[in-house]
Amino acid sequence: MFQVRRLPNAGTAVLTATLVVVMLALPALLNSYYLTLAVSAGLWAYLSLCWNLSGGYAGLFSFGHTAFFAAGAYTSTLLYTELAVSPWLGMFAGAGMGALLALIIAVLAVRYRIRGMYFSLATVAVVEILRPVLDTWSSVGGSTGILLPLLNSPGNMLFTQRAYYYYVIVGLVAVAILVTWMIARSRLGYYAIAIREDETAAEVSGVPSARVKRQMLAISAALTAIGGTFYAQFYLFIQPEIVLGWDPQMQMILGTMVGGPGTVAGPVVGSLAFSILTEVLQLLPIGWSPEIAAIVMRLIWGVVLVAVMLYLPGGLLGMSIHARKRAPVARA
């Protein structure tokens, strides 16, 4: 049966319009502390969206997206500090580097049939190789990392006002959502899902799995690399321990898996839920120091992760989508 593509109805349009207005007006309402939080929440949502293209749609369960993240951060930052190339341009060079790295990984993974959890391990290995190499490579900052100047230079993606960073990351999230939405409705997206569900069956049915994997991983990596550039421009400091650390990788996976892998809005919902939970926890009048609050928060992440995987395997959004899909069948 063909599904009739529904046009967005009036309710959705009003909701979207309200959301857009609120998002754009937010900097005027927030103080600088909450604006910083909003930017980091936005970056987390963006990175989850990027990972979702690979892990959620294509079933390429990468634990090495920090390698792409670092590729973006280091490429644009070095181009800026060494050659004075604006990060607005450097960001695309970084995306190219990320995509190139992803292509190499995808080609080798296909060639040597590295799949499933072995793909996860292979991508971890890439990060574990890159980190010590960058750590000991003194001409790119070594383990001390690279500092960016604190100045207001919009042409170089440097702002002294947080609101501008906020608008940049909101724009990036919008782009990532748009890309995901377009892929999800394209042949590439359907191919990717077919591979995720059963690679052999997809190949037998004529899905060019090697090409689809290459494309999905490369797109995901290019977008992740742009997130790396934004990270460097916002925090003004990059270091192998941080950009190639375990934390950003976990956050991408966490946000996606809890929100709903393989859905357009899932990664945003999941990562925002975690961001809000984290902030609420620090506001609770229990007298926890920020360190203790951070530990308790991560403890709760763990519990949420286990609970979601056991009781809502499709994530928060996956559940509602399944419920909606089943409804017409029940009526028929």
């Binding site: 072995y118 190789i129 286990v306």
Partner: protein, 288 residues
């Protein structure tokens, strides 16, 4: 470099390799028997290490002696985690299992952080800095004890899987759980015991670490990656694969540490893991 230094470094490679083999044996057991990828296995090791540290601090119990306490505790905790959580994802995809066990690892790591803080810890026993002098070589006593214990434990595990009734039941359930069920084996109980056993090996490994190895609540991921690397090198189908993989990893690290810096040595090790993933995905001892 003096030849004696090389011998010494390689000997330590064997020592660490034995300990890595023990650390990986439980990971390989659950992967082989139940097809469960346990990303919290490294954290199981660290928990046992911290329990031993606690016993040492409270009542000056020697960490190696504390194994008598951590092993039964690990069996019970492992069985509990299995029946509460992992039992429900036995038939799920590896991705689901990875996420669930990552969650368990996060819980363990942060409970340890709350209880002990994030510092690196060592149990300074009277023999911690003692060395055994042997024709020019100097070997740290706690490392030798830990390595011997590790080899003995892995050998015991191998013998148990081969000769005891439970071991045979575990192997039968690995080969074909449906047939095993038809033969009257309670596969669900076998899985529970196998997971408990896996936690027991983690406890022996963890409790032998604090006398010479700086442990922190964040060490879990490090041991997990080592276990994963060993399984890739040696294969999961036989305990002997873990021994081969562990020794190779230990020697590789020692050799790479001599040739490059310690940091680049780690990079080299993972490069070898990548080569194995491409060249022999089921490990040296696995079926091609």
């Amino acid at each position: 470099m003096h030849p004696l230094d090389i011998v010494q470094a390689l000997l330590y490679g064997v020592v660490y390799g034995s300990i890595y083999a023990l650390a990986a044996s439980g990971f390989a057991l659950t992967l082989g028997v139940m097809q469960i990828v346990n990303f919290a296995h490294g954290h199981f090791i660290v928990v046992a290490g911290f329990l031993s540290l606690l016993l040492f601090r409270l009542w000056a119990v020697d960490p190696f002696v504390s194994i008598a306490a951590t092993v039964p505790l690990a069996f019970v905790l492992g069985a509990a985690i299995y029946s509460l959580v992992l039992k429900h994802v036995v038939m799920e995809s590896h991705h689901t299992q990875i996420i669930v066990t990552l969650g368990i690892g996060l819980i363990i790591e942060n409970l340890l952080l709350l209880a002990f803080g994030g510092d690196l810890r060592l149990a300074s026993t009277w023999y911690t800095s003692r060395t055994l002098r042997l024709s020019g070589l100097a070997l740290s006593v706690p490392k030798i004890v830990a390595a011997v214990l590790a080899v003995a434990t892995v050998a015991l595990l191998w013998a148990m899987l081969r000769y005891t009734k439970l071991g045979k039941a575990i192997r039968a359930s690995t080969d074909n759980w449906q047939a095993a069920t038809l033969m009257g084996i309670d596969v669900r109980r076998v899985r529970l015991y196998a997971f408990g056993l896996s936690a027991v090996t983690a406890a022996v490994a963890g409790s032998s670490l604090p006398t010479f190895y700086l442990l922190s609540p964040f060490s879990g991921i490090e041991f997990l990656l080592k276990a994963f690397a060993i399984v890739v090198i040696g294969g999961v189908e036989d305990v002997r694969g873990v021994i081969v993989g562990g020794l190779l990893l230990g020697l590789l690290e020692a050799a790479a540490g001599m040739l490059f810096s310690a940091a680049l040595g780690a990079a080299f090790t993972f490069a070898v893991v990548l080569v194995f993933l491409a060249w022999r995905p089921s490990g040296l001892l696995g079926h091609a």
